[in-house]
């Protein structure tokens, strides 16, 4: 399992990237998708995920929509236009960062 610290630092990018690929997602969907893509390597806890989602919402990068599904409310998150820009930027800077890290660690 990947260390919590690393997930914490990158969760923002993960959420932004996933949402930029999908029109809208809800919390559970995000955790499942991450699990799937990483082959159970990264498992997001709600302790980390929901604060991040809400923070992004408060920053105006996400908007939410609540739909009643199967007798319960489900909250979907999607990117705002500002969120889209931020997503591109942050993913790019993450790759730059990884490149730099590689240089440092593989030296």
């Amino acid at each position: 399992m990947t260390s919590k610290e690393l997930i914490k630092g990158t969760l923002r990018v993960i959420v932004l990237k996933l949402l930029s690929e999908h029109k809208q997602m809800y919390g559970y969907e995000i955790t499942q998708l991450v699990k799937e893509r990483t082959d159970n390597e990264i498992e997001l806890t709600f302790g980390a995920l929901y604060p991040t989602l809400h923070k992004l919402e408060a920053e105006g990068l996400l908007v939410t929509k609540t739909i009643v599904v199967d007798n319960r409310a489900r909250k979907y998150y999607s990117l705002t236009s500002a969120g889209n820009k931020t997503a591109t930027g942050e993913v790019q800077s993450y790759f730059d960062f990884v490149k730099a890290m590689n240089l440092v660690l593989k030296y």
């Binding site: 809800y26 806890t45 709600f46 929901y50 809400h54 408060a58 199967d70 007798n71 909250k75």
Partner: protein, 883 residues
Amino acid sequence: MPLSKSEIDYIRYDLRKKGLTGGDLFEELVDHVCCEVEQRVGEGHAFKKAYEEVIQNIDPALWPDLQNKVHLSENYNALTMLRNLLKMMLRNMNKHRVHATINIVGLSLGLACFIMIALYLRHERGYDTMFTQSASIYRITASSTVGGTTNHIPTTFPAFGPEIKARFGEDIGSYTRIINYKYTRMVPTFRHDENVFYEEKVIFADSSFFDLFDFPFSEGHPANALTHPNAVVISRKMEEKYFGGQSALGKTLRFNDRADLEVTGVVKDLPSNTHVQFDFVIPLSNIASSGVFKDAKFLEEYNNDWFWTYFTIKDPSRAPIIEAGINKIASDKLPDFQKDFNAQFYIQSLRDVHLHSDFDYNTDLAQNGNIKNLYIFISVGILVLVISAINFINLTMATASRRFKEIGISKVLGALKSHLRLQFILESVVVCLVALCFALLILQLMLPLFSSLLAVSLSLDMWENASLMGGIFLFTILVGVASGAYPAFFISSFEPQRVLKGVWKSGKAGNGGFRKLLVGAQIAISIFLIIGTIVIARQLRFMQDKSLGYDKDQIIMVTIRGTNVPGSYFSFKNNLLSESSIVSVSSVSEPIGREVQFMSFAVEGKEKTQFVKILNVTHDFVKTMGLEIVQGRDFSRDQATDSTAGFIINEAAARAFNWDDPVGKALDHAGRPVKLGSVIGVVKDFNFEPLQKKIDPIVIWFGWPRWYAAVRVEKGKTTEALAAIEREWKRFEPGKPLSFHFLDQSIDQVYNNERRLSKVFMIFSVLSIFTAVLGLYGLISFVAEQRLAEIGIRKVLGASVSSILYLISKEYVLLVVAAFLLAAPVTYLIVDQWLQNFAFRIAWSPLYFVSGLLISGAIVVITVALKAVKAARSNPVDTLKYE
């Protein structure tokens, strides 16, 4: 496979039980958990088992923490939170305008009063602390006991100064002797060109005066200002008065039309809190210019005890040794005096002068303060503050329950306990701070009024009073926190569904009792203030109205001492008597109504020397003053011996001398063989001294007119009489202005301190009652609102309006009675202490207590009724339809 509705409800229920509060996030989490469970159920697990597994995977203990995190991430902006809070607060206040106003007005009044009193206290305690050497300055005071009466005076013999310096040179720094011009019982004049005025505040002092009392000079040098005899140092006010806007330095003032004095210094305006008050200081070496002494030789003698002696002690712990030393000097130099008068000498620290002096004859340099009155002021100030703080706490607590719905909704929407607590506390702190701002505003408006009422100059200088302001600020915050804490901790812990359903109502138990206790305390304080105000006002009234044994109205006292009028007194008198506006004229040695001096007599039938107070008068004194002769006669022009060997005594004297038949009894000088004379008449006792004093024996004898002329004026003709006096004055004394006072006014002035106390008491009791009523009104309106439904049901069941009124007001009336029972004895003890100051005082009457009870009771009942009537008359249909 989707979960069924009941399964989802189970999950909801269980999550709530595990400590999650409702809200947006809660729904999200439920959905998340449901998805996980659905997945497991899809893999073939039973619902219960799947749920358990999901829950096990995520530690629910962390969930409240998660909610916290989410909220923090949302509300990371403290400013936003504050803004929201303020918005909520303003909306709330707007919704309950009356309560908000009561809250703020009440508290700001209390704070304003308290700050005002604190400023006054600071002023009084700061007396005489402005001198560099304040802490080490002392003065000599004396007491003498004659005829069983002990008198304290702050003045002693001039020779003490040099003598203590000679004996205790190592301990004593420097000394200065001061004598007030008033010892001559004259009022001096100063003249510069056309400007000539009588001056009251003239002192003579040693050249070291400004070493001890280092008042800042605006012109001249303190060190050599008093070195040459013909110098005079004046206050800036006098510079303005005599020299207009010009510099006085080096200019000449003609003193008493007798000597020219050169102005060698001008002192900046004196602070109001020093007892060393003067407008003119003349070197003691020039005392001959006062016209009473030929030279300054007597400064080395032990003859006149009219001198203040101030000195510095280098090591204050040596003070008792110096005190003993002064008494030793006295027994060395004047053993007889010490024996005859039982004289004792003390030293008094400069800092004790203002508040811890109790001297007879009103002899100090300035009117001393009264620590008792100060204590009364402080306690009243604290009481008003307590009342308003109680008010605030009480109202905030009471109205908080009004906000159950708001709190419930907030909680449903996911507000955390800590948020609600913060909200409530911040809210009441903000209201308190608003009140503080108002208080400062009120203070600005009221301070000039209060200053003139107390005859002091107070100013609200923030920097000077930094510690006071800091204290007030902290206190305000404390009141805010205390009053916010109850709703914060009590209400915020309720479960929202109960709060929303209205299950919890302000019950009779618990905080209801506590609130009632607070209201009771307020009422008790108000009762104390009401009774105190009544008694003080009655006593004052009593002193004004009491028959003094003479007729103080329609008498003009003209000061003739030190003028040419005594020399031509009889023509002056006859000229006046020819006026139809003037009834009679006499001369008298005292201004009447002030303290009177003693003389020693040998009294027929008494072996020991008697010390008796004396008045020197001329013909017609009895007639002019309106005294009543009970035996014998007044001084008569037909009896030549009356003016040489006649005495009139009062009844108190006859009693003291054990004379059943006083007329004809002999009175002689003590210790001298000379025959003086005998009693020719007895007058009924009259209050020749202030009413604080009992009526002492007095001897009235014939003395040549020198001091005052008492002129009795026809009623309604005061203006004509004054014009006549002025005209005759100009004829006999063209060089000096006329100086006179109305006897009734000057007698009234003696009670200025009491009048001041009465006014302050009155103002504060009105304020405190007002505040208490405000609070009570707020509380009752709240209670009545709370009980609207109950009242509605009662009415439906047939209760009458009056029975409902009775129901609501009953407990408050009981509260008043309980408060009264508590307050009455305390009031009696405290106010009686004050009354003991007066030899002539009103007797306690149950009426005072009854009126205290009735007034407070009436105010409470009216306040209650105002609200209760509305509640009782409301239509039950309206009040019940929402229940």
